[in-house]
Symmetry: C2
Subunit: 220 residues, 2 copies
């Protein structure tokens, strides 16, 4: 267990802010393999996430079989086309974006929300807090990967029931992320969707209110 | 913008793993105020989270009004009782736990999932990826707080529609977290629910599979 009694130094805090700022949703990968010891560290970091009622509802399936990876790539390709159609006006623009790196990345992980284990604590009125817990685990994994100079891309462009079937996921469980992990040439300096003029983020101040929805928080 | 061209040093990586390992879901707080500059850094970190289609669906309401905080505390108290009843056998044991710090913490933030803005990218088959994005923002906030030696507790024990009404949240938006933030005497050395013998976590290896659900990943 880590020593929780000493304060974070300024340098340590800076590193935390740095990794948060420089994490990117990556779509471009190099084929070089990931060191197994590094992968293990990243998986442990995911597992240190908070979870509602300590239910730990995340499951991670490491895809090592090439045929299986190919089938996942096909599922993503099908959904990419369906998304393009749904986007209408912006279909052509969308199809120019690189939206996944399933075939290119060194490691492919599928994050699955486990079947409901009956946890009531913190979920009686908000049952989907289990999904929130899995997202926290993925965010941990993402930050740890970034600190290891590995890129990660969260792909949610697939039919979850088709992917559940491919991975023999039990009734009630749901794949929520195809995670592309691996070495990269460089991290995008800003979110790729901004770089590619798909969408711009808003300033943080626009999303923080005081006491009531819509009331600006001038002086946080 | 940060310089994304230099690698993370060993010390920086260690700091990232340290903050992930030492983050705790806190329920015990000191009343000392949070430095506004620190609060701003933490809010910025939350806003650097990934989001599906760059939709940034998080809103944070900073509760500064004491009456409003008191009303939120009452909502949590009502749901705590309802949870105890729902737990049946374990009700008495549950009621001995400290499950929130709404009245005690220096800063109270409510995280709200914004109304659906029509984002299709990455959400056509998985519409609740917006909730996952808000959870990632909260995890960022949590880690940044820990690096600043501030505790944070995610309370999800409330009726979301009652809280939505209190905060004048628009139709389609949903409060998902009451976040208690503030100074603490000490961080729990392990999850409080484990310390208090409510529940134990499982080893990470039990939750990682190879290629198919349930197949152990022996050598990641």
């Amino acid at each position: 267990m880590s020593d929780t009694t000493t304060s974070f130094t300024d340098d340590e805090s800076k590193a935390v802010y740095r990794v948060i700022a420089e994490r990117r949703d990556m779509r471009h990968f190099l084929p070089d393999p990931v060191d197994p010891a590094v992968l293990e560290r990243i998986l442990r970091a995911a597992h240190q996430a908070p979870s509602v009622g300590l239910m730990q509802p995340w499951r991670l399936i490491r895809v090592t079989d090439r045929d299986l990876r190919e089938q996942i790539a096909s599922l993503v390709a099908v959904e990419r086309d369906a998304t393009a159609t749904a986007l209408g006006d912006r279909a052509a623009e969308f199809l120019r974006l690189k939206v996944e790196g399933v075939r290119d990345c060194a490691e492919l992980l599928v994050a699955v929300l486990a079947p409901d284990d009956g946890t009531v604590f913190g979920r009686r009125t908000l049952p989907d807090m289990d999904l929130a817990s899995v997202a926290c685990a993925i965010q941990n994994l993402w930050l740890a990967a970034r600190a290891e100079e590995l890129g990660l891309g969260w792909v949610s462009m697939f039919d979850p029931s088709a992917l559940a079937k491919l991975l023999a996921v039990p009734e009630g469980a749901k794949p929520i992320a195809v995670l592309c992990l691996g070495h990269v040439t460089a991290f995008y300096p800003e979110p790729m969707l901004t770089q590619e003029n798909w969408r711009r983020g808003r300033p943080w101040q626009a999303l923080v209110f005081r006491d009531v929805w819509g009331n600006p928080e001038i002086d946080p």
